[in-house]
């Protein structure tokens, strides 16, 4: 099933970008741009093969916005920030949301029922609105946390304790906004699956066996209920590479999302092309990861191979 996606994905953003090239770029600039970025061919197909050729050599072209940096180096400098911030936030959100979902299902009929409407509210809030409010409250009014940037301007990126601590310090607020706004999705998915699973005979039997509540909840109920969430989690890990555009804009975080936004603003198609390629590769990779994880976690899928 998933093998179809890699075949299709890389073509798509390129098509988009080729259309963009012919429609939007200022005509006077086209000639020079084409020369500079290896697009002298007028035929779309030839351009495409050209592109594929340089792709094989690991050459993604040069960025227009960050001229004369190569696309590879622009992405290379943005990627670690995004993967660090968004990746870790996504993992925290998944773990926390899933745990809360387990508890909400296990202790149904108690105060945990109110977790649902509360987190749903945060899920429905426009992300940037929530983020700006938190920035205003914690970053400006209370001045507890830095409101923007990835690290203090007084330090230079290096693997020193001081730098890492300022980096973590700067990551708290953006990470918090991501977690708050995304946790409801995981919570709800896990809770609903968990509630359904709790009605299964094997959970009743586990209880009848006199196992500890912990063992029934984890090995029997949660272990089965989490399976459908795995695919979603892997997919969202793939999306991490695309960055969180709004987060990175609001916090002026030097990640992929911010770069992508700039690329779109500046019609920087080699950069967009490169970014979309990386994103699609990541999503395809994540899908593969999901398949592998599924096989590891669900013995029933192992039989087919």
């Amino acid at each position: 099933m998933n093998f179809a996606i890699p075949r299709l994905m890389p073509g798509d953003p390129i098509d988009l970008l080729v259309i963009r090239l012919h429609g939007q770029v200022d005509p006077s600039a086209i000639a020079s741009l084409r020369k500079a970025f290896g697009l002298t061919q007028h035929n779309i197909l030839l351009q495409y093969f050209d592109y594929l050729g340089s792709l094989f050599r690991g050459d993604l072209g040069q960025s227009i916005t960050f001229y004369p940096s190569s696309v590879t180096s622009v992405i290379g400098s943005a990627l670690p920030w995004t993967v660090g911030l968004i990746g870790i936030s996504t993992i925290i959100s998944f773990v926390l949301g899933t745990l809360l979902g387990i508890i909400a299902a296990w202790r149904r009929g108690t105060w945990t029922d109110s977790l649902l409407p509360v987190t749903t509210f945060f899920h429905s809030v426009p992300y940037f609105w929530l983020a700006l409010l938190l920035v205003f409250v914690f970053g400006v009014e209370l001045n507890w946390l830095p409101a923007s940037g990835a690290y203090s301007t007084e330090t230079t990126p290096a693997f020193t304790g001081a730098f890492i601590s300022t980096m973590l310090y700067h990551a708290i607020l953006p990470a918090l906004t991501i977690i708050i706004s995304s946790i409801a999705g995981w919570l709800l998915a896990m809770r609903n699956m968990m509630v359904t699973t709790l009605g299964e005979d094997y959970v009743t039997m586990a209880e009848a066996k006199g196992l500890s509540r912990w063992r029934v909840m984890t090995s029997y109920a949660a272990r089965n209920a989490i399976l459908p969430s795995i695919t979603g989690f892997a997919l969202s890990l793939g999306f991490v590479v695309g960055g969180a555009i709004l987060t990175e804009i609001i916090f002026t975080y030097p990640g992929v999302g911010y770069t992508l936004y700039q690329a779109v603003q500046d019609e920087d198609f080699p950069l967009m092309q490169g970014l979309f390629l990386i994103i699609s590769l990541a999503v395809v990779g994540a899908n593969l990861l999901a398949d592998i994880a599924y096989v590891l976690l669900d013995p029933r899928t192992r039989e087919d191979r």
């Binding site: 939007q24 426009p126 940037f128 700006l132 586990a206």
Partner: protein, 632 residues
């Protein structure tokens, strides 16, 4: 069909209705032009401007009301287009299958894996005019894929159902099947996907506007936020400008999500809320029910209610049963007779809203120690009691074995929980011994349940039940899901094991003839009550209750003479609306006047019990009525 109007749904409906009405009717009363600038710049809320003014003196309330029209409109329009797209593609894809499905699935997957916001930004860049309708269309293009996938999956599963296959076989036209047979099955899914698309649409509009890519000349909640942020409204202290539009979006979104919870609960009843309510009267503590003779389990006056919004439903009412050591007690009854609820009550496995309201269950340990009040055990004592003294074999081992753990692990966790000092090797040996005892090679401990055949799974479940050598095993329809040959083998196995290990069995089934062959004593349940009990031989020789007779007549014999089969007329009773008098009277061909209003007591004739007025000499008419519906 009762719609689940839970509190969540009501709150959700109110929230959504409030904002819809506000944006529909609001402009009729609010004559201030939302884009009229004025001299009152950045005013805090006051009587003239209920929500204050913006940097250019526009009235925030007027903007909020008019912006609501646009934002909700964009959300609804985007959701309509997205839903039409996803339903069309999902239905065609799931119904046509084959190559069409292949192509459409790939397209769906591609849209699913492209991150929505970048795609939205790129697409928005191409919009020839940034009218609000084109923004909605662009949003719908990015929002349809997940719905299409869900609907495709549902169509695939509905398509496999018998009545669809029948419609196809009878040559019904494809579009008729899709619209008349399949679509109605997916209404809840479609509604849920529509509502969540509305939320996605509203949020996407806000996001686009915030990035300056939306229709900024139109007042919407998104463009309000854009201008508020550009003017640094929060830093300027103008919270009344920044907070309301975001809050409005969040509340509408929450409202729609709450309605969606209701739809989920409607489609999946397990999700419905449960109320932890105390029973009207606490169970009476184990009365003077002394454990008679060699009884291992005595059930006295046991009643179970399902606590519903209306009156409690009496699923089990005043049941007395005694299980003797090593005895095989059969309980027979139709579905809904309360037999499984009774078993779950004895094993303390009832889930809310089911609750024991009266009675006692006493267990007499083999060692001769004091009898145990099963219903009164605290959670630690209950855990120790479970499986060690009373084990269960469920109807379908496919469902009762954990699919992600090996058979061995499911032996092992019982032993680890109950025999803490047992070594891993000993635990493994014990599991292998038992598995081999039921005819499965010991190396199958490493297998997962799905790798065993149906019969082997049920054998494994029986072996797991034996692992702690319990005194009592409840078997709830243990062979119903199996074919007749395997069923026979397993019954023989159970009888043999009972001889070797000496456990007593409560065997629950709807198949009375089966019980007659294997059980010592049998109890017949109807409408939550025991209506007849006696030894298997007594019941076989002379069933006293018309219902028992009906059960015997309605079952085909495996051996013996060929006779006409008779079904019991009517359907099993609805426990929430049991008829007055004898619960069986409306299906009984012997019923007479008193049966309509007099509940028959369970008469005890030296161990042989029956609850039927035909055997009540005071009420019974003379001569005994003949069956009115031409019984043999």
């Amino acid at each position: 069909m009762r719609l689940p109007l839970s509190r969540k749904v009501v709150v959700g409906l109110c929230l959504v209705a409030f904002f819809v009405l506000l944006s529909l009717i609001g402009p009729l009363f609010m004559h201030t032009d939302p884009q009229a600038t004025g001299p009152d710049v950045l005013q805090a809320p006051s009587c003239r401007h209920l929500l204050g003014t913006t940097q250019t003196g526009e009235d925030v309330l007027a903007q909020l009301i008019n912006g609501g029209r646009v934002s909700l409109g964009v959300g609804a329009l985007a959701a309509c287009v997205a839903t039409v797209l996803s339903v069309t593609i999902g239905l065609i894809s799931g119904y046509a299958r084959g190559a069409v499905d292949g192509v459409l699935s790939i397209i769906t997957s591609v849209f699913l894996v492209i991150p929505a916001l970048p795609l939205l930004i790129v697409l928005a860049g191409y919009l020839p005019n940034k009218g609000i309708e084109s923004v909605a269309i662009v949003i719908s293009v990015t929002a349809w894929a997940s719905g299409a996938r869900v609907i495709r999956a549902q169509t695939l599963s509905v398509r496999r159902r018998d009545y669809i296959e029948a419609a196809r076989a009878s040559g019904e036209r494809g579009h008729r099947i899709i619209f008349a047979e399949i679509l109605p099955n997916e209404i809840t899914l479609i509604a849920a996907s529509f509502l969540s698309s509305v939320v996605v649409g509203i949020l996407a509009e806000a996001g686009l506007s915030f990035l300056g890519l939306g229709s900024l000349t139109t007042v919407s909640w998104g463009s309000m936020l854009y201008y508020a942020q550009n003017a640094q409204a929060l830093l300027a202290g103008a919270w009344w400008w920044f907070i309301p539009p975001g809050l409005a979006i969040a509340l509408v979104g929450t409202g729609l999500a709450l309605i969606n919870f209701g739809i989920d609960e409607y489609a999946n009843p397990r999700l419905r809320g449960i109320r932890r309510k105390m029973p009207p009267s606490p169970p009476t503590p184990a009365a003077a029910a002394e454990v008679a003779g060699d009884a291992v389990l005595s059930i006295r006056g046991l009643s179970v209610d399902y606590l519903t919004d209306a009156d409690p439903v009496h699923a089990v009412a005043d049941v007395d049963l005694t299980l003797h050591r090593g005895e095989m007690l059969g309980i027979a009854g139709e579905s809904g007779s309360g037999k499984s609820t009774l078993a779950n009550a004895v094993a303390r496995l009832l889930r809310p809203p089911a609750m024991v309201t009266a009675g006692s269950v006493r267990y007499q340990p083999r060692s001769g120690a004091d009898p145990v009040d099963v219903l009164g055990l605290d959670s630690a004592a209950l855990r120790a009691f479970r499986w060690a003294d009373l084990a269960i074999v469920f109807q379908s081992a496919m469902n009762s074995l954990n699919p992600v753990l090996t058979i061995g692990a499911q032996f092992d966790d019982v032993l680890r929980a109950h025999r803490r000092d047992m070594s891993a090797i000993d635990r493994r040996k014990r599991a292998a011994t038992l598995l081999e005892r039921v005819g499965i090679p010991g190396e199958r401990l490493r297998s997962y349940p799905h790798e065993l055949s149906g019969g082997m799974r049920q054998r494994a479940a029986i072996a797991i039940a034996l692992v702690l050598d319990p005194d009592v095993i409840i078997m709830d329809e243990p062979t119903t899901a199996l074919d007749v040959v395997v069923q026979r083998e397993i019954l023989q196995e159970i009888l043999q094991l009972r001889q070797d290990y000496g456990f007593a069995v409560i065997f629950i089934t709807h198949d009375l003839t089966l019980l007659l062959e294997i059980c010592d004593t049998i109890a017949i349940m109807y409408g939550g009550r025991v209506v007849e009990s006696g030894t298997a031989a007594e019941l076989h020789a002379g069933p006293m209750h018309p219902y028992t007779r009906g059960l015997l007549d309605s079952a085909p014999r495996l051996r013996g003479d060929l006779r006409a089969l008779h079904d019991i007329p009517g359907a099993p009773p609805d426990l929430s609306a049991l008829p007055a008098g004898c619960a069986f009277h409306d299906r009984c061909s012997y019923a007479f006047d008193s049966c309509v209003d007099t509940a028959p007591p369970l008469l005890d004739r030296s161990g042989r019990r029956v609850a039927c007025l035909l055997h009540d000499s005071a009420l019974r008419p003379e001569p005994v009525p003949e069956p009115v519906r031409g019984r043999p």
